[in-house]
């Protein structure tokens, strides 16, 4: 029989290889040995390490290991370039970004093949997904470069950005980092992952081709040590990191006490929630895109399947059937769905976790498939009979492994979905609009995909909740990671402002703590003495148990306060304003006891009232936006409260500073545990009765007095707190940042500086008081 006749009989696919000769020619032209791109020039590396092609296990190039002196060189170049980059103006910056986008398109196949060779991902994905998204990212941000000054008049570039990216989407992550940074007038030092440096080096050539001014983009390669040299460099103003939660925490600790801006895009264990009314055949394809895309090496992979019990077996059957037609093999074959795992280390880790899952009782299903020899391959895997307590249900496997569990009700689906330390993404499948939007609101994740999954676009911010990190990449929201508000700052005062006076009070006043809507005696049974112009006053000396109690109250209160309507929150704040005004005499008296003149006290009172009214107004006016991705879908942002937030209020302006920091958080639906001015807590404490009288639900606004030593570390360590704002001393701010790493609280620390509380940038406060969730809703009758 002829070959054609044979095939006619078997109707198999046959090989469909993508030619890799041009990529190999490019590697050969560089002697398969690379240096660094610094200050617009190629710099030789002192030492190299090997980079392997995962599908063969063969070495394909020698990559330079950048030392701290290389980083230093790059930082100097980037620093010098940043001024020039701003001086050339928005139009020129736009043209450069546009030029990069065009150039990427012109070399798209070379990028796609090189990426596949280097990473092991299928050519279909690099060709159809990664590289087109890279170009789209530069086009989109070219536009932002043009309108930056008009759209963000109160912001300026951060400066020099250190960017460290992972190996799973090498060029795409580069684009996510470099495009917004350059668009907002920054310069960058980018380090690709050591497994996958090649496309970043090709990108450097693109920068040369378009004539990008030297030093604007610097590409340095190396391992974790190189990364650490970037993180630790004192003249870098911003670190953007995508990678593991473990390394994210190290970076958070390492940058504590510095003024470096930080964005972290970390791990996940994202739920993929299937309701019984979903289009199950489409769900199956969604699962393929969720967990068998890029070999499951996707931080937002839908790796936890939660399916409504009644359709679970039916869905599992469909998944198993579909797994039989997945083709695993040579990533450069155009008809391959699953390529190679990036490295042997990763392959071993996947294998080990799956074995552990089975040991813990999971039922494993893998299709029959054969792999090319020599490379690092793992079959698509479904684990059923998995419970939330199983290791594989909790740990990010970062491989083609789906774990499945069932739920009974929408509420249980949400509970299971949120039963994780992560919060990167979620996918929800139902034909019911009411269910979809309700669950989308309740799932804790930066991205929610309804009836779709792993959709990305430059226009929609991507980033995590909880230990999946903070900051967004993409969209308007992502630009703020590369902008700095033009703030008028002063040095924060820490010393008490009132000298000791003789006690003049006729009747003793009791100043307790304010926890869960009630005045509470401090657990310690001790008091602190505060100097006032009326003599010494005792206030409660809060301790770790008071913090614990306050966080518990704040946690409960958060549930209802965050889901209450914004209009209701506005009404509560207006009522607070009303009662605040009613208590004017007592509040002013309290201010004067801090040493303020009558005039100053009156002014602070009036400004405070003004601020309350402002945030009451904004409570229902800081609204969602929609994004314009190139697809038929509604993509809307939800500006959601973060959770219970700890707040170390400024020492100065004891009333205005207190209200200016508490109110944006409360208006946006957070609950707060606030430590008022250490020096002068009394004006804030005067508000207990005003808060009580204003229907602020108990637990929304907790106020604890005490000492930094006893309160702040406990707050920063507390896993129930989702963010910490620190307007205290530099030293304490550093401690707060370092300890925030435990559960990756968002932090906002002014590092011993303070604001002019009379004129604060209100929108920046609201932005900080919320986190953005993007909800993708494709539609079609």
């Amino acid at each position: 029989m002829s070959k054609v006749a044979d095939i006619l009989d078997s109707m198999e696919y046959g090989p469909a290889p993508e030619a890799a000769n041009l990529a190999h020619e490019w590697l050969d032209a560089h002697g398969r040995r690379f240096g660094f791109y610094v200050d617009g020039k190629w710099v030789d590396a002192g030492s190299h390490f090997a980079s392997f092609s995962p599908s063969t296990g063969q070495e394909i190039a020698q990559i330079g290991q950048a030392t701290s002196s290389v980083i230093d060189h790059a930082v100097k170049a980037a620093t010098k370039a940043q001024r020039q980059w701003m001086e050339i103006g928005a139009s020129r910056r736009t043209q450069f970004l546009y030029g990069i986008a065009r150039q990427i398109q012109k070399h798209s196949r070379l990028f796609a093949v090189l990426e596949s060779l280097d990473n092991g991902k299928p050519i279909r994905e690099t060709r159809d997904i990664d590289i087109p998204l890279v170009a789209r990212h530069f086009y989109y941000h070219a536009g932002w470069a043009k309108v930056m000054e008009a759209e963000f008049p109160d912001y300026e570039p951060v400066g020099v950005c250190g960017q460290i990216i992972p190996w799973n989407f090498p060029l795409l992550m580069l684009a996510w980092k470099i495009a917004p940074a350059l668009a907002m007038g920054n310069t960058v030092i980018l380090k690709p992952a050591e497994f996958t440096s090649l496309t970043a080096l090709l990108f450097a050539e693109i920068c040369q081709q378009v004539g990008l001014p030297k030093g604007v983009v610097n590409i340095v390669t190396g391992d974790g040590e190189t990364g650490a040299a970037i993180v630790d460099h004192p003249d870098i103003h911003k670190i953007a990191f995508t990678g593991s939660t473990e390394v994210g925490k190290i970076i958070r600790r390492g940058t504590a006490g510095t003024e470096k801006k930080l964005s972290l895009e970390l791990g996940g264990k994202s739920p993929f929630i299937v309701f019984e009314d979903a289009d199950l055949d489409s769900v199956v394809e969604g699962i393929v895109d969720a967990i068998w895309f890029n070999q499951g090496q996707v931080c937002c992979a839908g790796s936890r399947l939660l399916v409504q019990e009644g359709v679970a077996e039916k869905l599992y059957g469909k998944i198993r059937l579909r797994m039989e037609t997945l083709r695993v093999g040579d990533p450069l074959d155009k008809a391959v769905d699953i390529g190679a795992i990036v490295d042997k280390v990763q392959l071993d880790r996947i294998d080990e976790l799956v074995r552990q899952g089975v040991l813990e009782g999971a039922t494993i299903h893998q299709p029959n498939c054969s792999f090319p020899s020599g490379g690092w391959f793992y079959p698509p895997t479904l684990l059923t009979n998995v419970e939330p307590a199983s290791t594989v249900a909790q740990v990010e496997i970062f491989g083609p492994v789906l774990v499945a569990m069932t739920f009974r009700t929408p509420a249980e689906a949400v509970a299971l979905a949120n039963n994780t330390v992560y919060g990167l993404a979620s996918s929800i499948w139902t034909q019911n609009l009411d269910v979809a939007h309700d669950i989308a609101a309740k799932v804790k994740a930066g991205t929610v995909w309804i009836n779709c999954t792993n959709q990305f676009d430059a226009s929609a911010g991507f980033g995590g909740y909880r230990e999946s990190g903070y900051g967004r990449e993409g969209g308007r929201e992502g630009l703020f990671e590369y902008l700095r508000p033009k703030l008028e700052t002063t040095k924060a005062s820490t010393a008490p402002t009132v000298k000791p006076h003789e006690r003049t009070n006729s009747l003793d006043k009791t100043h307790k703590l304010y926890i869960g809507g009630k005045q509470a005696r401090p657990d310690s049974g001790y008091s602190l003495t505060i100097n006032t112009t009326n003599g010494p006053v005792e206030v409660g000396r809060g301790n770790r148990k008071d913090i614990r109690n306050a966080v518990e109250a704040a946690d409960v209160a958060f549930l209802s306060w965050s889901s209450a309507t914004a209009f209701y929150r506005a009404q509560v704040l207006y009522f607070f304003a009303e009662n605040f005004e009613g208590a004017k005499a007592a509040i002013i008296e309290s201010l004067t006891t801090t040493g303020s003149s009558d005039r100053a006290a009156n002014l602070e009172f009036e400004l405070s009232l003004d601020r309350i009214l402002h945030y009451a107004a904004m409570a229902d006016k800081y609204e969602s936006e929609t994004h314009q991705a190139p697809m038929r879908a509604l993509i809307y942002t939800r500006k959601e409260p973060i959770g219970p937030v700890a707040l170390v209020c400024p020492s100065e302006s004891p009333l205005l500073g207190f209200l200016s920091t508490c109110l944006p958080l409360i208006a946006m639906g957070n609950s707060v545990i606030a430590i008022p001015s250490y020096a002068n807590p009394l004006p804030a404490m005067e508000l207990y009765r005003v808060i009580e009288a204003s229907d602020v639900p108990g637990g929304v606004w907790n106020i604890i007095t005490g000492t930094p030593e006893e309160l702040e570390k406990t707050l920063a360590d507390h896993d129930g707190i989702q963010a910490i704002w620190h307007f205290g001393s530099r030293e304490n701010g550093e401690i707060a940042q370092r300890h925030s790493a435990g559960n990756l609280k968002q932090t906002w620390c002014l590092m011993g500086k303070s604001l002019n509380w009379q004129t604060i940038p209100s929108r920046e406060f609201l932005r900080r008081a919320t986190q953005i969730k993007n909800v993708w809703v494709p539609f079609g009758a």
Partner: protein
């Protein structure tokens, strides 16, 4: 070859109408379109594989002429092309033989002409029927038309459903109508044309597919070729999924026929790939898969010549159908 393949699986006898199941069917259009759009990028066949697959595509073509100006002459030419769809020298070069199209498809008027022309071959003759393409002539006449075509020797009957039954959700009426058509066909196989371009939604396509299979359709077919939108990959995907669902539930295999607008070799491969991915190799055979087409064949011939010679071919080098 076809007859033996047909006997390889039992004919779908139909099932009682299960209204609960019909009404629970829901299709998410965006998700279906995404799968349809990415499929072409996920699979491809090259070189010998492409040649073989294109030959298989020919085997699955219902070579069709459905024009008001059809005459015995052009129907005769069509039958000749069905018997010898590819130049012999090309077949020889590829080392294959016995390639014919899956069937010829004509109006009732030309059934006898086709039977005469195709005598001695195993190529079946299909007749479009039941007031094709609108299907709105009196029911009695539609049934009579089927019977007349069967009497004239038609092996397969392509009926059109009453779209109104779908658009108004009258599944019982659709089921009853389909059952009557099936009964009138007797031993001839019946293909149910859903006219998906006129059904409004993919959910309607899914429901109509399932009702027709429950009523005993041997094939479900997308279009008459006369609607503004005919065979599309998303529609085919939905129909394939329903065939899979029906097979899983009953064990019976129902065939699929996209028709209308399939003009290029690439499109025919897209449909074959879809069948293989969604239903498996059984549905790559002409007893379970047909493509209704008239001009498709000439593009495939050119591609085959390119495979054999390495040179791009031209239409005038291949015989007209």
């Amino acid at each position: 070859m076809l007859e033996s393949a047909v006997k390889a699986h039992p004919r779908n006898p139909g099932t009682p109408l299960n209204l609960d199941q019909i009404e629970s069917l829901a299709v998410n259009r965006s998700a279906v379109e995404r799968r349809a759009a990415t499929l072409a990028g996920r699979r491809t066949v090259k070189k010998e594989w492409q040649a073989a697959w294109l030959l298989q595509a020919i085997r699955c073509i219902d070579l069709t002429t459905l024009s008001g100006d059809d005459t015995a002459g052009n129907v005769h030419r069509l039958c000749a092309k069905a018997k010898q769809p590819v130049r012999q020298d090309l077949l020889d070069a590829m080392g294959v033989e016995g390639i014919t199209t899956g069937a010829v498809c004509v109006y009732h008027q030309y059934v006898e002409e086709c039977k005469k022309n195709l005598a001695g071959t195993s190529i079946p003759v299909a007749a479009v029927s039941t007031g094709f393409p609108a299907g709105l002539s009196p029911l009695r006449e539609r049934i009579h038309e089927i019977q007349a075509s069967v009497a004239s020797g038609a092996d397969e009957i392509d009926i059109v459903i009453t779209r109104a039954h779908v658009l108004t959700g009258d599944w019982q009426a659709l089921y009853d109508e389909m059952q009557m058509f099936r009964e009138a066909c007797g031993d001839a196989h019946v293909k149910a044309i859903l006219a998906t371009g006129e059904l409004g939604t993919l959910t309607n396509v899914a429901r109509a597919s399932m009702v027709c299979m429950m009523a005993g359709a041997d094939f479900i077919k997308t279009s008459t070729g006369k609607e503004p939108v005919n065979a599309t990959i998303p529609v085919a995907l939905v129909m394939d999924r329903m065939i899979r669902e029906y097979h899983a539930a009953t064990g019976y295999k129902v065939g699929f026929k996209p028709a209308g607008g399939i003009r290029t070799a690439k499109q025919s491969l897209d449909f074959l790939i879809l069948m293989k991915e969604e239903l498996g190799n059984d549905w790559l055979q002409p007893n379970l898969f047909r493509m209704g087409a008239s001009s498709l064949l000439s593009d495939i011939e050119r591609q085959l010549e390119h495979f054999v010679t390495g040179r791009y071919s031209a239409y005038n080098r291949h015989a007209m159908g």
